[in-house]
């Protein structure tokens, strides 16, 4: 059910994504994440179209960390920040982080090769039902995504995901 991808740029690092529905303890999880007690990025999946977005965000976060140029305080917050089309940190948390009443959740974990223990340790704290990452699109809210990234119809003709991915990658020069 998990989706794990090796990073070509950082062969020691892996990114695993876990998707949950019917989550009952979003508020508690959020508090734990804020206090740094969960070593994962907790993301609101309605703002994402594909696991590829989270992969890109994680890759960029590890890159920024490796050259000492993170914009936020931790790797996990940097992942959330990288998803956002703007450079406003609190805005990024509001849109892409988990909030109290959320029922769905995407957990993104950066870990080394064999870390199944870490993963199950995190998964066990979510009071909800894990679903295959393939079901990603059933959580997405394209209307909200279109609005947040300000994607025009002419740009969307080339595909909404491509438009979003390009915004994420180019936001620091626009």
């Amino acid at each position: 059910m998990h989706f794990t991808q090796k990073l070509e740029l950082f062969p020691e690092q892996h990114v695993t994504q876990m998707l949950f529905k019917d989550v009952n303890n979003a508020a508690e999880l959020r508090q734990d994440a804020v206090e740094g007690n969960i070593h994962a990025a907790l993301i609101n999946p309605t703002m994402l179209l594909s696991p590829f977005q989270a992969l890109l965000a994680a890759n960029k976060a590890i890159h920024s960390q490796s050259i000492g140029k993170m914009k936020t305080r931790s790797l996990n917050s940097e992942i959330i920040f990288n998803l956002s089309p703007t450079n406003n940190i609190s805005e990024a948390f509001k849109r892409f982080g988990i909030s109290h009443q959320d029922r769905s959740l995407l957990v993104v974990v950066v870990h080394s090769r064999d870390d199944s223990e870490v993963l199950s340790h995190i998964a066990i704290r979510v009071d909800g039902q894990e679903v295959p990452v393939e079901e990603f699109s059933s959580f997405s809210d394209p209307a909200k995504i279109r609005k947040l990234y300000k994607v025009s119809p002419q740009e969307e003709s080339g595909g909404l995901l491509d438009a979003v991915v390009c915004r994420m990658a180019t936001k620091d020069v626009m």
Binding site: Q5, L7, E8, L9, F10, F52, L55, L56, N59, K60, H63, S66, I67, S152, Q154, E155, S157, G158, D162, A163, V165, C166, R167, A169, T170, V173, M174
Partner: protein, 230 residues
């Protein structure tokens, strides 16, 4: 340096004066990586500034084109520390150069196909110039054709924005077209009518085209450089 390490194992597609182009898998997708390498003949500090700025300009132009609905490769990731841009690989495509060459060889394929291409190219370039993006290196090798997914219509994809910049000046747009004209007519001899068709489509598509075409005529008489200095 993670990126440079990756490039060491990647397949090199091209080497130019400004950089190298590689092909590699990136986050599970086929990608093209453009690297601008340091020039040892320049002062290191100056070199770093120039290289960094050109990388930024390239990324910016691509983003601007995409916003306007012009097809270009998607930017996946930029590593400014080594001036590397990770781009979507445009698969199942053919350069406009090859397309024209093979269309002219086969008599079965009608002129109509070439005319449609000239019309499409003019329209896309007009749109790009209306966004004030100057490509800087327009050639038929820097334009790709692919069949779009939902129809059999040809889609034009502009690539290699390495020399591009943002400018609203008719002069810069005129020179952009002049560079294309030179490249087009020398790569494809005896295609003057086809290029005229391209320009016709450009003029019809852009509101600001008359000033640009006027500049193009000026540039034809004097060449690409405005001043004779340097």
């Amino acid at each position: 340096m993670a990126t440079l390490q990756l490039l060491r194992g990647a397949e090199m597609l091209k080497q130019g004066a400004e950089g190298r182009v590689y092909r590699a898998e990136f986050l599970g997708k086929p990608a093209v990586i453009k690297q601008r390498f340091p020039k040892r003949y320049r002062h290191p500090e100056l070199d770093e500034k120039l290289t960094h700025r050109r990388t930024m300009q390239e990324v910016r132009s691509i983003a601007r084109c995409r916003r306007a609905g012009i097809s270009t490769p998607v930017v996946y990731f930029v590593d400014y520390s080594c001036s590397c841009i990770f781009l979507e690989e445009i698969v199942d495509s053919q350069t406009v150069r090859d397309f024209i060459a093979s269309a002219r060889r086969s008599s079965s394929r009608s002129d109509q196909e070439l005319q449609r291409l000239a019309e499409l190219t003019g329209r896309i370039l007009a749109k790009m110039h209306d966004e004030d993006v100057i490509h800087g290196d327009l050639t038929t090798s820097n334009m790709l054709l692919r069949r779009s997914a939902d129809s059999s219509e040809l889609e034009l994809v502009l690539i290699d924005f390495g020399l591009s910049y943002i400018s609203a000046l008719a002069e810069d747009k005129g020179v952009d077209l002049y560079v294309l004209e030179k490249a087009f007519l020398s790569t494809h001899p005896n295609t003057e009518p086809l290029f005229q068709q391209l320009l016709g489509s450009y003029s019809a598509s852009s509101k600001k085209s008359s000033a640009v075409i006027k500049k193009l005529e000026e540039v034809r008489l004097r060449g690409r450089k405005r001043s004779m200095v340097g």
